[in-house]
């Protein structure tokens, strides 16, 4: 299961998954698990799409529902998702997407 250090991390991911109309990510996050390599790659790529979307929001002056900035949450979520994918056996999938950036 994906384990969050802050409850806001999950809210933040769902906030951006909804904003990006990403039904698959919403399902994965609500389930709290990925079941195969394709899902691991999908979630890893979503992370960086979320980062880009949050940066666009900041540049447009759109405020987040939380006091902390996007960089704070993106870093926390990066550790949470990559830590989970490591433990679930999908470290290579996460790393390959990092290398695409």
């Amino acid at each position: 299961m994906i384990e969050y250090k802050f409850k806001e991390e999950k809210e933040y991911i769902l906030h951006y998954a909804r904003k990006l109309n990403d039904v698959k990510t919403i399902e994965l996050i609500k389930a709290g698990t990925v079941n195969n390599s394709d899902e691991a790659l999908y979630l890893s790529r979503f992370f960086w799409e979320m980062v880009d979307s949050s940066i666009e929001d900041e540049e447009s002056g759109i405020e987040l529902p939380w006091p902390e900035g996007a960089e704070f949450w993106n870093e926390k979520i990066m550790n949470t998702l990559s830590g989970y994918l490591d433990r679930a056996g999908y470290e290579d999938e996460w790393d390959s997407v990092v290398d695409e950036q």
Binding site: V51, I55, E63, P67, G69, E75, N79, G83, D86, Q101
Partner: protein, 158 residues
Amino acid sequence: MIEQFKTINDLSAVIKEYEGMLSRPTRHLSHPTLYRTRDVGKKERVIKGVRVKDWLLSEDEKWVLPHDQMGLSFSSSYKNLKQVYKLKERHNPGKTLNIYWILEKADIPPGLKFEPDVSKKGHYFLTVTEQMLLEKLVLKLKVMAQRMSVIKGAGKTL
């Protein structure tokens, strides 16, 4: 002091050679262990350079309380540093980033300790081991910063 690396292999090799090397990227001119207002979100709270959400504080926010999974983030592996660096680079396009580092076994001020993140390998927290006034933590973080080395403009090596 190590100031610059030319290739990805240089930096990766040094991290492997220096067992217990802990690092964190920061924007050029930012402090290695404290935050300026411009380093954080507009509504994000920083007290005397300490980002409130990083630490476990007392209700009146005068004291920092011990917690082995809360504190300042550091990378202990090249892989973790690389992804943190890429994220910071994304948030700071066109800005120069530096990497500050210290050895885990070096003389870290008493009352501070590196603890591994139990849910993420390669990630560590610089934590407090005893309750202390926030001002005291700030002083310790300043002392620690003086003992850190810097890799300037490391982007091309990552």
